[in-house]
């Protein structure tokens, strides 16, 4: 496999992981713009664990994800009191705090960045991405999955039906942060060097875009979104610097034509023919 192809596929796998990290809270109706912050916590914690505690990279990455999850759980309760645009701003601020903290944390290199000694290649990263996609898909086939969607669609009705709205939101936010933290750990261990600038707001926004454009209705949405928007810029590479212009224009066209995202549940049903029996006449 050429170095270029491996590079693109690593990026794809890491982006798929990040996309599931953004998808979990989005599916519950929360726009988390602090995703990069949790990715940073995961990246630095994993790097520190493998550098200083000599943990195996895979184990260190999982530990990094869990630490990101613990931080998410601690901040979820105050942060998730906010709604809509205020939630987006609060999580954005959270990401900024993490970034600023890292810049001042000399133990992980501060502004100079942090080298990571151990190294993982594409197969490990791909397996992580696959396992995470499978876990999220399985989770969404349980009662938790419909509870998340119910909260997304109508918090009041969900509450009156006995759904603990707050717990579902905190769980989705926390699990999303664990996944984002794992994505950060994978990134750190492949690129062998991390700095605070890797985890700025642009990362959060790009990943949220993957998910929104891929579609939040189905667990396939993040996968399709991350794949299309990682590979499309590469395919446009021939057009030199115009590729960013073409890419941005494609985004706008897509948002206008398919505001619900590339993958929707109605479309999936049609595709998989999950409804083979003929529709009876409307009663």
């Amino acid at each position: 496999m050429s170095g270029y192809l491996e590079g693109v596929l690593v990026l794809l796998a890491v982006n798929v992981v990040f996309a599931y990290g953004a998808f979990l809270p989005l599916a519950a109706g929360q726009l988390n713009l602090g995703l990069a912050g949790f990715a940073a916590i995961g990246a630095y914690a994993a790097a520190y664990a493998s550098n200083s505690w000599a943990l195996a990279p895979t184990l260190a990455i999982v530990v990094g994800g869990l630490i990101a999850g613990v931080v998410a759980l601690a901040v979820a309760v105050p942060v998730l009191r906010t709604r809509g645009i205020y939630l987006a701003l609060a999580t954005f601020a959270l990401g900024q705090i993490v970034q600023a903290t890292i810049l001042n944390l000399e133990i992980v290199g501060g502004a100079a960045g942090y080298p990571v000694a151990s190294f993982i290649r594409l197969p490990t990263i791909a397996v992580f991405a696959l396992v995470i996609a499978l876990i999220v898909a399985t989770l969404f086939a349980t009662r938790f999955g419909i509870a998340v969607r119910a909260v997304h669609d109508d918090e009041i009705a969900a509450d009156l039906l006995g759904v603990h709205v707050r717990s579902v939101q905190v769980a989705a936010f926390t699990m999303g942060s664990v996944v984002a933290g794992i994505g950060g750990g994978l990134y750190a261990h492949h690129f062998s060097f991390i700095e605070a600038q890797n985890f700025n707001i642009a990362l959060s926004i790009t990943v949220v875009l993957y998910v929104l454009l891929g579609g939040t209705q189905s667990v396939l949405g993040p996968l399709v979104g991350a794949a299309v928007f990682t590979l499309l810029p590469e395919l446009l590479r021939g057009s030199q610097n115009w590729r960013y212009v073409i890419f941005a224009a494609a985004l706008i066209v897509l948002m206008a034509l398919r505001p619900q995202g590339l993958v929707t549940r109605v479309q999936l049903r049609r595709l998989l023919a999950m409804n083979p029996q003929p529709r009876g006449a409307a009663a």
Binding site: T138, F140, A141, T142, R143, F144, G145, I146, A147, R149, A150, H152, D153, D154, I156, A157, A158, D159, L160, L161, G162, V163, H164, V165, Q217, R265, V266, R269, M274, N275, R279, G280, A282, A283
Partner: protein, 265 residues
């Protein structure tokens, strides 16, 4: 008609929003297994009463007794597991879920803990909860729509799906907010048959807000009339119809009522 144990009792309940008093010193009891209607002009506070009963708003004064216990301080989420379920004035199904998944949301109050929330209801086709929800839809004559997204279903079907969802919680008291509103006569009749079937095999108590007096007359055995947040009359439909005050504020004069009945016939 007011004899027999009551399942729900409102005692001197008041609610105001800012300076606007919406429910004022309201008291009434709903008899066990009865079908009670709340009627009254628009703005009388009927839906607010429902919202107080299911806990969407806290009470300003008074208390609500359910099954002999004061539930005034019970959070809204827990009231469905006590046995209070409701439908909404404008259908509030989850638009991004299928009809079957909506019905499965209705089962939510019947389990607890991590093993409950992690039930693989959409993974295994023969899951117990899934089978139960499918049977309930089929029983209501709605099997054809189980995998349809809610937005694609006609309003009358949505209303029946919402009813099935509410019943999945196995409630003892079902609050229905204008179940017949916006339905044509065929849809209204289908809904009424479904209600009859649901009430037939359980000791379910119905509390219904409705403007369709024909619907109320055929379904309900007790009527409470509200105006400006207070009870102005109570009794059987026949008794309430004769009340001059009720005629004046809501039902209209006998002549008008007759012409309305003639139109409906």
């Amino acid at each position: 008609m007011t004899t027999g144990p009551s399942i729900l009792e409102l005692q001197s309940v008041s609610k105001h929003f800012g300076g606007l008093s919406v429910v004022h010193d309201l008291g009434f009891a709903v008899r066990c297994a009865s079908r009670t209607a709340i009627i009254g002009p628009n703005g009388a506070g009927k839906t607010t009463v429902f919202n107080l009963i299911c806990g969407l708003y806290p009470l300003d004064a008074g208390r609500i007794m359910f099954n002999g216990n004061d539930i005034s301080a019970v959070p809204s989420r827990r009231r469905i597991s006590l046995g209070i379920a409701r439908s909404f004035q404008n259908v509030r199904l989850m638009p991004h879920l299928t009809a079957l998944e909506n019905v499965m949301v209705g089962q939510h109050s019947r389990f607890s803990g991590l093993s409950g929330i992690l039930q693989p209801i959409n993974l295994l086709p023969n899951n117990r909860w899934r089978a139960e929800a499918r049977a309930a839809l089929a029983d209501a004559g709605l099997a054809f729509c189980e995998s349809a997204m809610i937005a694609s279903l006609p309003y009358g079907v949505q209303k029946r799906v919402e009813l099935v969802r509410a019943v999945m919680a196995r409630p003892r008291l079902l609050l229905l907010d204008e179940p017949a509103a916006g339905l044509n006569s065929a849809e209204s009749e289908a809904l009424q048959q479904l209600l009859d079937r649901i009430c037939g095999d359980t000791a379910l108590t119905l509390l219904i807000i409705e403007h369709d007096m024909h619907f109320v007359g055929t379904l309900c055995d007790h009527v409470i009339v509200l105006d400006f947040g207070s009870k102005v009359a109570e009794g059987t439909m026949t008794e309430v119809r004769k009340d001059p005050l009720v005629q004046q504020i809501y039902l209209g004069t006998v002549a008008k009522e007759c012409s309305h009945a003639a139109r409906c016939a």
